[in-house]
Symmetry: C2
Subunit: 464 residues, 2 copies
């Protein structure tokens, strides 16, 4: 028998990790609910036709496809021949032959959401605000921080063009990272300003080229971007226009005023500026003073996905202790549901990178101490009458809501203590002869080493 | 474009359903934690070799296999030939060719748990108590109440033979169904009594035959079971022995005393009786008086799975309003981890049938009213200065922890009211001119139709 293992790029989540992840999920869930967002869950398997063609050619190749069941029951000669042809198609390119594979694993949460909205459009109240926290699967090459099974967490509003939605999503980011104790900068920009930038270069058709080059500013610096812009056919004058614009400084108001002056001839640019101003003004009305993240208008923010059409946003961790790319992002998109036949529905959404947020929180050490351990106390088992006494105490502690275990066997003291230690609990309770006779219980605090004999009521009080 | 759909046997969970399911999961999670069980999550994909051969031939056929990615990149002639041979194997029987498919979707939570324990045996503190609530996938024919993606929820203890574990799992069942408000009978038996039954018939080798026949008692009655026992080669004397034993009556003590008298010559039988008595005695020490489920020793309880070796248990809903098979079950098993090379680890576990429990709760109408709706109140949007005023109120309500939405556009009154109605909230708040000028807010209760203008503080008080 070979040693058991799990597929490359997947993970078992051990108890402490599940608890910490749950801590993140719970904070996010409570915030989404507070803001009136509703939970949605879609199946892990989608029809392959729902997914193919939605993520580009590269995406099609990275989709995990499920082999149809019952292929071995095909015996009719004509069907076997057809199957052989279909199999050839699977081999010749990343083609989806419904005879061989008609289902696939969820690749993101956006397409299933769009599919769900279209299928349920008559039952939904629009604007529909949903949040969704589920795993997705991609056949990417696994590497540090990149998994084949990973979690996405999205909040979207569809069916409303109001910029109040943008503001509420900014609030959700602020509230979430404040509660998670992760210091962040939330960058905002508008695709309309990027379009204006291309106009100002006299090359409106080059907007995606400019976007792609600018997206690398953090990584390759302005010199690298200049080089890439030149390679992509942007003129020297164009590049200096771009430089002028990404160099605007000051607070958000100051930046927007300078941009307005520079873009005075671009209707798209002026609209983008107006939208950012309105979003930030709504945000100002709703923001809590305690929130610590800074919101920065950043004209170099590009976001890779080409379905964004309006305000775009990205979250980066602000701590010097952490090197990590974006831990969240999103924006306004038009017509996502158009892919499935429902036209004209505008949407805006943000996403939380759960796995990265988890890593950042570990590095910052901001998980509360008690999160990883569930059980508060372990009762040792000294057998016989002491075991009966231990059962009584166990019941009383649980009745008081204290997560407690009784070691199930009256094993050797050392073995039981070793177990308690390995479980990482703070308190060990010792119900021995003396304790039973006096109706008391000895409480040993593992962190201080202190041990004292107290009444059960006092013990409960200590543990609560 | 064809209408979008989801794979047969899968489900989208809409907001109200997600919330009700979360209600169930939360109750179970809190109970597991109170009893010192620890959460585990394993990946959706397992290596196919981990799963094949563990669920019988039928199981092997029902496993969803994932097509290997990158098959289209195979170009070397020799590799192509090998692939063709492997593909033939996939077609000829439900064979797992690692060249074509080397991963598969989780089929249950038990095998991944055993695999996890073996992989992490050096880091775990034994006895290891874990709970796990995750979806599993089976390519079964979908029908009412049977899905291809469904949830399992298991709690197991491995590494302890103490019958205290059996008692704690009975407590967990009682606590859970009490809190879920589902009236239940929890049947208990021991595989050792079933073995004794076969001995008493003079046919110890026929234990599985007797088990399989008895398992159908509820469905086909005693006459049907007699017929099946005869077909399976049990003698008339044997059948009358079985009838004597399954006809023992009275409370659990009375039944166990009668069984003891009948099985006085069977060591296995006497051991089974002793184990049941010990488990029930431990249970008695831990049980809460408020628990309503009845625990019944039922010698006809068989449980299909042949890996059980000791106490077995099954939960059925007790209400006349509901027709539903078992909604939970489990038992003691030996050597599950032996499948992966770790011998001699005894375990005991129970499982909750989440989808069935959900259906039962719907039929009984025991979900609390407020569970399905998240948002407490919706603020209407009357635009301009009133919108600004609405934003202030929105902020105050959220600061007070009340899940609130503001309609994002100043659309027509009717449209906004229709939205609020469809969202199913109880309260609509109307921040109009008069309210703004007076610094008050009108609260309309959708269920009573009542509307009154109150201070924001009073409004918060009403909604809390």
């Amino acid at each position: 028998m070979s040693k058991p293992s799990i597929p490359s790029g997947t993970r078992d989540f051990s108890p402490a990790v599940v608890r910490k992840r749950q801590y993140i999920f719970n904070i996010l869930r409570n915030i989404f609910e507070l803001y009136g967002f509703q939970p949605l869950e879609t199946p892990a398997m989608e029809n392959l036709v729902t997914l193919t063609g939605k993520y580009g050619e590269e995406g099609d190749r990275l989709i995990f496809k499920i082999l149809n069941n019952g292929l071995h029951t095909i015996t009719k000669e004509s069907e076997k021949e057809k199957l052989a042809t279909e199999w050839e198609k699977v081999l010749s390119k990343a083609y989806s032959s419904p005879t061989v594979t008609e289902r696939a694993l969820r690749y993101d949460l956006t397409i299933p959401f769009a599919r769900y909205v279209v299928m349920n459009q008559n039952d939904l109240a629009f604007p529909f605000r949903r949040y969704q926290m589920q795993p997705v699967w991609r056949a990417d090459r696994p590497q540090a921080g990149r998994y084949r099974e990973f979690w996405q967490c999205d909040a979207d509003v569809v069916g409303s063009t109001s910029l109040m939605n943008e503001a509420e999503l900014l609030c959700i980011y602020q509230a979430a990272f404040y509660e998670l104790k992760v210091p962040v900068t939330i960058k905002v920009n508008s695709r309309k300003l990027l379009a204006a930038l291309a106009e100002l270069c006299g090359m409106p058709e080059k907007m995606m080229d400019i976007t792609i080059a600018l997206d690398k500013l953090d990584k390759i610096g302005w010199d690298g971007v200049t080089k890439e812009l030149t390679e992509r056919g942007i003129s020297e004058t164009g590049i200096s226009q771009i430089q002028n614009i990404i160099n605007v400084t000051g607070d958000n108001d100051a930046k927007l005023n300078q941009l307005e002056a520079l873009m005075t001839n671009s209707p798209a640019g002026l609209e983008g500026i107006k939208e950012l101003r309105t979003s930030l003004s709504y945000y100002g009305s709703l923001a809590k003073t305690e929130w610590t993240g800074s919101i920065d208008v950043d004209i170099s923010l590009a976001r890779g996905l080409n379905y964004y059409t309006g305000v775009i946003v990205e979250v980066v961790c602000d701590s010097e202790k952490v090197r990590m790319g974006s831990i969240g992002g999103g924006g306004r998109y038009d017509d996502l549901t158009g892919l499935f036949g429902l036209k004209g529905l505008s949407g805006v959404g943000v996403s939380f990178g759960i796995d990265r947020i988890y890593d950042v929180m570990e590095q910052l050490g901001v998980f509360p101490d008690q999160v990883a351990t569930g059980t508060k106390a372990i009762l040792l088992n000294f057998g016989g009458a002491n075991e009966e006494y231990a059962l009584q105490i166990l019941k009383q502690l649980r009745d008081a809501g204290i997560a407690t275990e009784l070691y199930p066997d009256s094993s050797k003291f050392d073995k039981q203590m070793k177990y308690a230690n390995k479980r990482g609990v703070t308190f060990v309770l010792l119900p021995g002869d003396e304790e039973r006779e006096k109706g008391l219980i000895s409480v040993k605090n593992f962190s201080t080493g202190e041990q004292k004999m107290v009444s059960v009521a006092d013990c409960i009080h200590m543990l609560q």
